[in-house]
């Protein structure tokens, strides 16, 4: 089937098999490997991409369902002006270790910041619970995100 959508602000058209997952489409067809595969059951969040600004688990999301929509990957987010703030906060708080979950984490955080959903430390923990990190123990991430959201942690 023919797929037409916007990826990182640029129009993309490709011939794909109808069962192609969005994660495989961005990684294999477009070479955007920032998104990672891990649990494949929508628990870990490491494959998170934004579709029209909403976080989705691209390992369980058909590329065809993104037809006509606007997909943002880490490769697009890092070109946006707000990325510098995210990057600085995560570096200052050492809010990453192996980096495998980091792109998905940043995309989720950027969507939640845009929604102004992170109104307290409790809200940060609750809203980020769909993104696992096995390395950091989460505290650095909570501190970084609290800084970004302007709430105390």
């Amino acid at each position: 089937m023919r797929l037409a959508l916007t990826v990182n602000g640029r129009p993309v058209e490709r011939e794909i098999a109808p069962q192609t997952l969005l994660l495989d489409f961005v990684r294999d067809d477009l070479g955007l490997t920032g998104a990672k595969r891990s649990c494949e059951v929508q628990v870990c969040g490491t494959c998170t991409l934004l579709v029209d600004g909403r976080p989705v688990s691209s390992c369980c999301y058909l590329a065809a369902d993104a037809s006509g929509h606007d997909v943002l990957t880490i490769e697009g987010l890092r070109e946006r002006p707000e990325f510098e703030r995210l990057e600085r906060a995560f570096l200052e708080h050492a809010a990453l270790q192996c980096g495998f979950c980091t792109p998905g984490m940043l995309l989720t955080v950027s969507a939640l910041l845009a929604d102004e959903a992170l109104t307290s430390e409790g809200a940060i923990k609750h809203n980020l619970a769909g993104n696992l990190c096995r390395c950091t123990g989460y505290r650095g991430i909570v501190e970084a995100v609290a800084d970004l959201a302007g709430v105390g942690a």
Binding site: T33, G34, S38, E87, F90, A94, L96, Q97, T136, G137
Partner: protein, 747 residues
Amino acid sequence: MTTLERPRTVAPQVGRSAPRRDGAEKLRGQAEFAGDIVVPHMLHGKVLRSPVPHARIVSLDARAAEAMPGVVCVLTSNDVSGAFWGHAIKDRPIVAVGKVRFAGEPVAAVAAEDEATALAALDAIEVEYEDLPVVGTVEDALAPAAALVHDGDLRPGLFHGLGELPPRDGNVCYRFRMDRGEIEAVFAHADLVVEGEYSFPAVYQYAMETHAVVAHALGDQITVWASCQHPFLVRAELAALFDVPLANVRVVVPYLGGGFGSKSYTKMEPVTVALARKAGKPVRIQNRVAESMVTTRRHGMRCRMRTAMTREGKLLGRDVECWFDTGAYADNGPRVTATGADAAPGPYRWEAYRVDAACVYTNTAPSGSYRAFGATHLQWIGESQVDELARQAGLDPLDARRASLCVPGEELRAGGKPLDADLIGDVERAAAAVGWDEPKSANVGRGVSVGLLAAGAHPVSTAVVRLEADGRVVVLVGTTEVGQGARTALAQIAAEEIGVEVEQVTVRGTDTRYTPYDRSTGASRSTTLAGLAVQRAAAEVRSQLEEIAGGDEIEPGAIPGLIAGRFGLHGGELIGHGEVAPTGTGSYAEGPVFWEVCVGAAEVEVDPDTGTVRVRKTATIADVGKAINPLLVERQDEGGTMQGLGNALFEEMVYEDGLLLNETLLDYRVPSFEDLPDEMTCIVVENGDGPGPYGAKGCGEGSLAATTAAIVTALADAGVPMTELPLTPERVWRRIRQLTEEGVWPR
């Protein structure tokens, strides 16, 4: 402790929380992992895994699969029979030969032009199995007339490092015993004795990146890009397995998406190389989570322990038997068993102890390393018994520890390294951090735990430091960046020695073709041992610079000019070499390189109606000698703390008759943001008492063992002593009901 004596031209680079050198790459999604690597003409590999735990392979027919369009080849036992691998015991075929020993064991592998074709081809392979009796648990394996998982002689691997391996005894593949004093006499005269039987579950490391390997084998040259923690041991194992010289095997290690021991030693490399050899083209195999879960895990363990104390509260003796379930292949089981035995007595001043630890084959997935192995298995048990004895003696748990903990310089085991840490100071700090003396409400408990972990593994590391003509520094060292921050800490050490800012230093990933030898990335050894090698190599560069400068101060900006002066043109470089080798024979008995401190405290609240345990506070001690990067030390400890919380509260691989029942993240729960304790404190202790650079010693594992144990002792303090982990609501609720019937709840 060594400090720089020369005048400084740049601020100290060691001891500051420099931002991670790999931070930007990782945040921007530019960090490359093994599964991101694409090489020209690369095929995709998939592994056919056994659906049954123990069976004879009656027949295997791959003709239909081989005939499928897009399939390049199918690897079967016909291609690999006679070749066995395993760093401790060479007990593993590349794919099953004649018999399968666990559900999930590789039986065949397909190389195809795309992943979907490879997957479809697996279904076309016909295998007939004839079931054999399943040895599903340690109890099954030790029963009289139990079926044997392996029936041949044990062939020692290249890297067990445990002296001469004893012969196999039924399903017991390794045994470690140690004792001191007259154990029976001590127990016969003790005032207070507690004893019990305990069990610890199999646990999955869950590095978020699953095992991934790209292999290319041409003639007698083998190249692999692998998610491995110990590239030089993988190189040696592949060289031996495929009978080629070491230098013909090239192992390239990109960033690892977590390891925690799951990528220690060799895992998916042999089958990927064998498949690539047969295909004549490069092949990539990337496990799914369910496959990585049966590639390696933490050993489940059963334990019988008793501990004796005087009425006044002095610990006397401890007697331990434990059985580690190593699954169908030994993997790192012998080392885990020895380290567990080492950790079993705990760092107390004993009149006598006796430990008998067995490593047992079963028909379950192989068990290997997982962060703080051995200590995590045993510390919660020993510390539970110390607390129960203290309670009977009418002592505060902290006072009981003050009375019997070893002090710095005291011998822990005959001929081994004496204690190199202030444990009493450490446990007092941890206790204070969770409000030890503050009043508690009902159903709230506080606990501490103290332990040690034999750390450092085998002390062999080398490093090369290159000072380039533009004043930038490149460090070549075989440490794998698994997330722990090695590339940052080692860069800080090189910067400090040479006298440049850390931002001028890059630590490269390992490529065994160019990177000098390092034993492994594990056992908290990188900062201590690779760090020492880097320090020595960088110091060598510094002395060359000083010679060129002829006594003038060396401003970083002047370095390019000095190098140009030395070589006459803008070119050339200064190269330093550093090495760490054992002072003795490097044997296990002489070790460890250092004792990693496992000290923590916790406050928990239990809901008696549901059995739910909530961890309100944790405190851990990073007793690191010298923190090269204090913030990264804290972050390491916090990561260990959350894994310790998961190991204590809910992580468990559930097996039934040799079949894993919870093979997805839906059923196997790991901690999330919402599991964070209300307060999580990491205290960095710097006594300069480590053998590494500037008095440093490793960290990052101790907090796991300490946290698991402190949660257990805190729950016991709330009135619910437990003998089986994890502390699921059901188990805790049943225990409370039992205690109620016995009339001891509420306490």
